[in-house]
């Protein structure tokens, strides 16, 4: 199970990097979304994927799942949703204002000329 998860995380990261290297702003945002999903899965996997009962130290539970990684990804997911939504709104506004979503045309020259 851990190996499968590792492969999935790797695929997520590669797709994220591929998307973030493209010029279109929307693709970049989707890339950041995938990146944070990969990171969240990584936390879950790092906590250990034991098959067992609910994370309560009962008297008879031999295996229990570590609850901390779940708490951590819950926080991280909320944060990444917030950032992604902010990013989307910003991209829309920037598209309206600058008239482009191509990162090549957003290159700054202030202070250099």
């Amino acid at each position: 199970m851990e190996i499968l998860m590792a492969v999935i995380i790797g695929v997520l990261f590669t797709s994220a990097v591929y998307l973030m290297l493209s010029k279109s702003l929307l693709r970049i945002i989707i890339g950041t979304g995938l990146l944070s999903h990969g990171a969240h899965l990584l936390i879950l996997t790092m906590g250990g994927l034991k098959k067992g009962s609910v994370p309560i130290l009962g008297e008879h539970a031999k295996h229990y799942v570590d609850p901390i990684p779940q708490a951590l990804i819950l926080t991280a997911i909320v944060i990444s949703f917030g950032v992604t939504s902010f990013f989307l709104v910003l991209a829309y506004r920037a598209y309206q204002e600058l008239g482009t979503d191509n990162m090549d045309q957003m290159r700054g020259t202030e202070g250099n000329d």
């Binding site: 990584l42 936390i43 917030g82 902010f86």
Partner: protein, 493 residues
């Protein structure tokens, strides 16, 4: 007062929430945010005194004992930094009253400002590595808003890049924390430190140390990772720029300082060597930028990078003297860099340009501004008896004593170049034939000079009263050098 150390986080938080409902009433917003800031400053100063007399303060949230729950820890370093950043935020706030403009004030500027302070003070205070991430995010989220508020073209364009860089570094931060958790099995910083000592820092922990260096280096702008900073910090208006330049990068530097002295101090040969090389390269890169540009904003922005290099050099030497120097220089730089940004904000407001070639002869009409800029420049460059001198002296001395001659020489040299770069602004901008400035008379110069003057006055007192300050700073450095003090205070053993 057992809850004292949470006050610098809670007061801005509640103020921020309150201000969301009051966006239409600008004057009321100003009063509330100013008063709450005074409250925050007083709480943080009381906190410094408490830490000074009673030792490290801890607070277990929800009364869960230390390694299990979330702990807030205030040692001398974090108390000092909380106080410094609150004071700087207060000055930037007063500065914004007269300069930020009604449009921004109506769109949650003061509220977001307070949230930024929550993030910064929280990051300095927390004793839990995941909570550090959360406070980083609070801080970053508010900094995104502050960077884009107003919505000019350059702001929109630069904040996209800023957000992208920070999203990637945040993902990396989460990944690093996950690795650390899988190896160590704990999130409490004191507990992590103790467990790393037990397993004697194997190779995997060194890998994690380097990952942390990348993460915090991105936020703190060390050598190869500072690329986003000159562009992003260029965009927002002066008080926001002052906040960012003085506080945001320093949070990254503080995190390097904390993790490298608390977690990864067993095998310093590899990690601290890399940190030292990067610190020296950071100073050099900053120098090149600072003397190359003809734009006053860019010159000061590159001065941030030099300062980050100098502070991280002190961390990499890892003797008690060098850590004292680092802490001393860190606080000095926060104060003076903020003052510098506020001053050049006034210059830009008067002249309407940041190109040095379009400015000259300002001292004829604004003598006070000129002399304050001169004082700040001298202090920034580390001319005795100003505050930059003491920190730099400690750093150079400890560098030579530990046999790191190149690094110490570069730190010494950097003063010269910092002096050159800021004097370039002074000579070209303030001397010469006075020009006609477009906004002359429209800018409330004296109102804007007051907060900058306050910061410079604090900075100079800090330098001249170095003897008095030193007892506090050395207490901070003592904890950094002996992590056992920190661990014992948190885990109550």
């Amino acid at each position: 007062m057992i809850n004292l150390l949470i006050l610098p986080i809670i007061i801005p938080l509640f103020t921020a929430i309150l201000l969301i409902f009051l966006t239409k009433y600008i004057v009321l917003q100003r009063w509330i945010s100013g008063l709450s800031m005074i409250g925050t400053i007083s709480a943080s100063i009381i906190l410094i005194q408490t830490v000074h007399t009673d030792g490290i303060q801890t607070l277990n949230l929800g009364s869960w004992p230390a390694p299990f729950g979330i702990t807030l820890v205030s040692d001398m370093l974090s108390a000092l930094l909380v106080a410094t950043s609150s004071i700087i935020a207060f000055c930037c706030l007063i500065y914004s009253f007269r300069s930020i403009g009604e449009g921004r004030e109506k769109f949650y500027y003061y509220s977001v400002f307070q949230f930024l302070l929550v993030g910064i003070n929280g990051a300095f205070t927390t004793g839990d590595i995941f909570n550090l991430f959360v406070f980083f995010e609070v801080m970053l989220m508010s900094s995104y808003v502050l960077m884009v508020i107003g919505g000019t073209k350059i702001q929109l364009r630069e904040s996209i890049k800023y957000i992208l860089v920070n999203v990637i570094s945040s993902a990396l931060f989460v990944i690093t924390v996950a690795y650390l958790y899988s190896v160590i099995g704990s999130l409490n910083m004191a507990d992590i430190s103790r467990k790393i000592t037990e397993i004697n820092q194997p190779g995997i922990v060194t890998v994690i140390a380097i990952l942390f260096l990348i993460v915090f280096g991105l936020k703190g702008a060390i050598f190869p990772l500072y690329f986003w900073l000159p562009g992003s910090y260029y965009a927002p208006p002066a008080p926001i720029m002052a906040l960012f330049g003085a506080l945001l990068t320093k949070v990254g530097v503080y995190s390097i300082l904390r993790t490298y002295t608390l977690f990864f101090y067993h095998d310093t040969g590899y990690t601290h060597q890399i940190l030292m090389v990067l610190a020296i390269l950071t100073i050099l890169a900053g120098i090149i930028g600072a003397i190359a540009y003809e734009d006053i904003k860019k010159i000061i922005i590159y001065n941030i990078i030099i300062a980050v290099g100098i502070i991280t050099f002190g961390i990499s030497v890892m003797t008690e003297e060098s850590l004292t120097g680092s802490v001393f220089y860190l606080i000095h730089d926060m104060l003076l860099k903020a003052a510098m940004f506020l001053l050049i904000g006034i210059i830009i407001a008067i002249t309407g340009t940041s190109r040095l070639s379009n400015i000259s002869g300002m001292i004829k009409r604004y003598p006070l501004l000129g002399w304050m800029f001169f004082l700040a420049s001298l202090s920034l460059a580390g001319i005795p008896p100003f505050s930059g001198f003491v920190g730099k002296l400690l750093l150079v001395k400890s560098g030579f004593a530990a046999g790191h001659y190149i690094g110490a020489a570069v730190v010494l040299m950097s003063s010269l170049f910092v002096l050159y770069s800021v004097m370039k602004i002074f000579i070209n901008g303030f001397w010469g034939v006075p020009k006609e400035f477009p906004n002359e008379g429209k800018v409330p110069v004296y109102m804007l000079l007051a907060p900058a003057g306050l910061l410079i006055a604090i900075g100079i007192t800090y330098g001249i009263g170095a003897e008095f300050v030193h007892s506090y700073i050395s207490q901070a450095a003592e904890v950094l050098k002996n992590p056992a003090l920190y661990i014992d205070a948190v885990l109550k053993e």
